[in-house]
Symmetry: C2
């Protein structure tokens, strides 16, 4: 029996990845987590592939300094455009959010039409489409890039009745509604914050797939199968960011859906 | 007579500063320009003061490698929150965009009510208000942060009839309209791209002050007074960015208002 109390490393371009941490805390309360949010360089999804790869490698090198047992890439953009490079850089098991979200969507769809939302880089990569085709070949997909969604979320424009968020959602969701998608992958960990806004535009009959939730489920399964679950009574949670920690708690509470008491520290990611 | 053919260094968080370069090209066609746009880390205006200072120092150290005679900080955020630190880092005359914009606004206002738009960091700094008070003490100011304007511009949402841009502008301009400002400082070099959108919301009677234009005028005056104008027949223009150069020309043509034929090169700003 090789149980493993080492923490799990999680990183994201900013604080959106905390929606994945929230699901991990719920599903895996015994696990310790080391989170890095690259708040000094967010967003990733409007940058080039080469820059995203460079940033992802630095993020992984930082997490590897913390004696972690696995890495969850909570960033839809990195998971889509730099997964192979990230896995090569890592020395521990490393998973992204694409595969879990795709399995969730394939389970949910009835009419076999799946919509995909993501950052510009994610949509350009066609990572979700490729992952769907690798499992099933009779699925129709329709995707759209949502470059304003991350700035909207990072600046607090995600409440149900926010008019700018609703207008942006209407524009981005138009082709998915026209193509009659019955399941939509929210292909970026920021997007679950816009769930109410998106649901109000597409209606309650469309299933929204939260990549963070799917990743937490896949992680739990993987840790169990590999006898790597933690024996801690309660996991410890440490948070690191690359910009000031000043407003961290304010936003973190939003993303985590609860008050968090853990410490947060600023680090210089450019030196990793 | 000490005329000076060395280029002028200009930097911005991204490509918005090219609106200032456009005005410099028009007013000072003999001057050579070295431009750096930090496209790998844009935006600056939603980050903390300490991070903005760190990035600004790196930008200046990069420009100083190019045998420049002066630096124009075409970034409203750096000009507002890090001007003193930037000047300390620089070894050549260095100017921001705040002072010129304030003088332009003071000349334009009739009812002595000046509105100020800027990034979150700019508005928090109250740099424009302080610069106004340093010149005149009977001016009423009203300011508002516009955190979505830079993402809107950088993603191409700035055309006159763009509904999302109009809705955001209506929200951000509301207090300025309510307070009856007759002059509005567009306190960020990205914002002149939204001039048509902003004008459609506030009406044609309100004067919009373009900080890039004012900076170009102030620069010309300063070079003339100090006998530092260039004797070149035509200035040479070199452009550097920190993310991929791939879409540079596409956006640069928008910001410069003409096709540009100059070369562009990617550099690693984190090493400066």
């Amino acid at each position: 029996l090789a149980l493993d109390n080492r923490p799990i490393g999680v990183f994201d371009s900013g604080l959106g990845g905390l929606t994945a941490v929230k699901e991990m805390m719920d599903l895996l309360p015994n696990e310790s987590i080391v989170y890095f949010g690259d708040t000094g360089r967010v967003p990733y999804g409007t940058r080039s592939k080469e820059t995203i790869i460079k940033y992802a490698k630095q993020d992984i090198r930082f997490l590897l300094k913390h004696n972690i047992k696995a890495i969850v890439i909570a960033c839809g953009t990195v998971s889509s455009v730099a997964l192979n490079e990230a896995i090569k850089e890592s020395t521990v098991p490393t998973m992204g959010v694409v595969e879990g979200a795709v399995l969730g969507a394939l389970n949910a769809t009835k009419n076999k039409i799946i919509g995909i939302l993501g950052t510009s880089a994610t949509i350009r990569s066609e990572a979700y489409e490729k992952a769907i085709r690798a499992v099933k070949d009779d699925i129709k997909t329709v995707s759209n890039a949502c470059p304003l969604f991350v700035p909207l979320v990072e600046n607090g424009y995600f409440k149900k009745d926010n008019e700018i968020a609703i207008l942006a959602a209407k524009e981005y969701l138009k082709p998915l509604i026209e193509q009659n998608a019955d399941t939509i992958i929210l292909g970026c960990t920021h997007y679950p914050l816009l769930k109410d806004v998106i649901a109000s535009v597409v209606g309650q009959d469309v299933t929204l797939i939260d990549p963070g939730k799917q990743a937490a489920m896949a992680l739990k399964e993987s840790l169990k199968v590999n006898n790597m679950l933690s024996l801690n009574k309660n996991g410890e949670h440490r948070f690191y960011v690359s910009d000031s920690t000043e407003n961290f708690s304010h936003y973190a509470n939003f993303f985590l859906g609860k008050n968090m008491n853990s410490s947060v520290e600023k680090i210089d990611i450019e030196t990793y």
